[in-house]
Amino acid sequence: MPRVVKKKRKTINTLVAWSIGLLIFFPVLWTVLTSFKTEGQAINDPPLFLFFDWTLENYSIVQERSDYMKFLWNSIIVAGGSTILGILIAIPAAWSMAFAPTKRTKDILLWMLSTKMLPAVGVLYPIYIGFIKLGLLDSRFGLVIILMLINLPIIIWMLYTYFREIPEEILEAARMDGAALWKEIIYVLTPMAIPGIASTILLNLILAWNESFWTLNLTAAKAATLTAFIASYSSPEGLFFAKLSAASTMAIAPILILGWFSQKQLVRGLTFGAVKYFNT
């Protein structure tokens, strides 16, 4: 008898959860569907769900009209560049805080976190004018630096929490063997830390890809990323829903896929270790 009840409950749970899940996901799904319609079908009343003439023309129009590949490339360079640079700076810092902590380590960690709290708009003008003076406005290099700086605290924190999980006994054993510090890092620490580093890279790529304060304010035609490219659709011209959808789909697809792999890291990376993560 209880087994029947349990099964019934499970069925109800499943139905409710799937309905809510699909409802939340619907805007994304609708965007993807609309990207395969013609402009006329995109605004059809009643709305067309599956039975329309699927077409790829919007994708080629978007690419032709505004050179989508250029923005994609900018996004890749900026997100990838800032992540790599951030990781290179963060690994030694996180390593030393995790394995050679001092009395001030906690304060330094919290201070680093506090720099993340600085509202971007509060320092908009100094950065903007600094960029003009240094010739960095609308350059990918400038964006790489800024995005690296805003995400550096998160990278250091994430790596720190991962490094702390590496048992110290293993490092000590290596030390006993008389391994030099650099050997210790390369042969002992790195292999154990690689999963953590990979997760950190993943989350940071997502954050940098979607960043849309600095990418909107510090770029124009040359270094504009996908966030800025999409923003150019905010002044509509005629029928454009299908084109907007195609552009949006291309802009979010890569990161949506990465994101689905990084659910676990999301909690760790954005709560600064303040929420215990057992099962996820």
Partner: protein, 292 residues
Amino acid sequence: MNNHLSTRSIARLMMAPAVILLLGWMLIPLTTTLYFSFKKYLPLRGGDLGWNGFDNYTRFITSSAFWPSIYATLIVVGSVLIITVIFGTLLAILLDQPMWGQGIVRILVIAPFFVMPTVSGLVWKNMFMDPINGLFAHLWRFFGLQPLEWLSHFSLGSIVMIVSWQWLPFATLIILTAIQSLDRDQIEAAEMDGANPIKRFGYIILPHLYRAITIVILIQTIFLLSIFAEIFVTTAGAFGTKTLTYLIFQRVLESQNVGLGSAGGVYAIILANIVAIFLMRVVGKSLDAKKN
């Protein structure tokens, strides 16, 4: 001893780049903003017109745009927090139940968080909220109702809807993580003792979630205070959607009144710091706890 010392100095050396960069990132723009905030500075209309004390600070808060911007900020941040925490908790509890295809449902629920803000802003604005061709308009007409002008008549509500959609996954995921770390035996014991679901929720689950919800509120507040792109691509600050962040952006870059905008920036920094202090306390405690 010698060896120990060298390890420590190497450790310091390894931290140096990160510390120096972040120190520079914090101090240089901050002092520049402070500097400009005491100046009358109009790059397009005369440039640096000298010091003017606290004039920018008083003018910023006495301008007719200030209180509406505070109102808009509070409504957006407050409503999004309430919506995401309540629905996030409910959704997390639901996702924790046994069901078929749990992993897929989770993927569906998390998706909005990975959609870039300009995309979600424009997709909602056009494909859902457009008063003629949007899906909501179709839906309203289907029921024989007059379609709504979402972003002009319900501007703040519309922004709240878009932003809540983006942040619901974050709240859900963190609360779900906390629920899953709950001691299963405790719940089962309560179930055996005949505690009904509401009692189980109120006495066992909710107290356990207190900390996770605090974290969600604090972190989201920091991010929500600086929402920008969603407003930039939908209303561009019109129809009462000018938040403090947006107002400062307009003062600095659109009307190029740098002194005034910088004073506003200092207010925003102070506001964010008030929230940050609480967040630091919670995070600091968890650092201590981990050491034990």
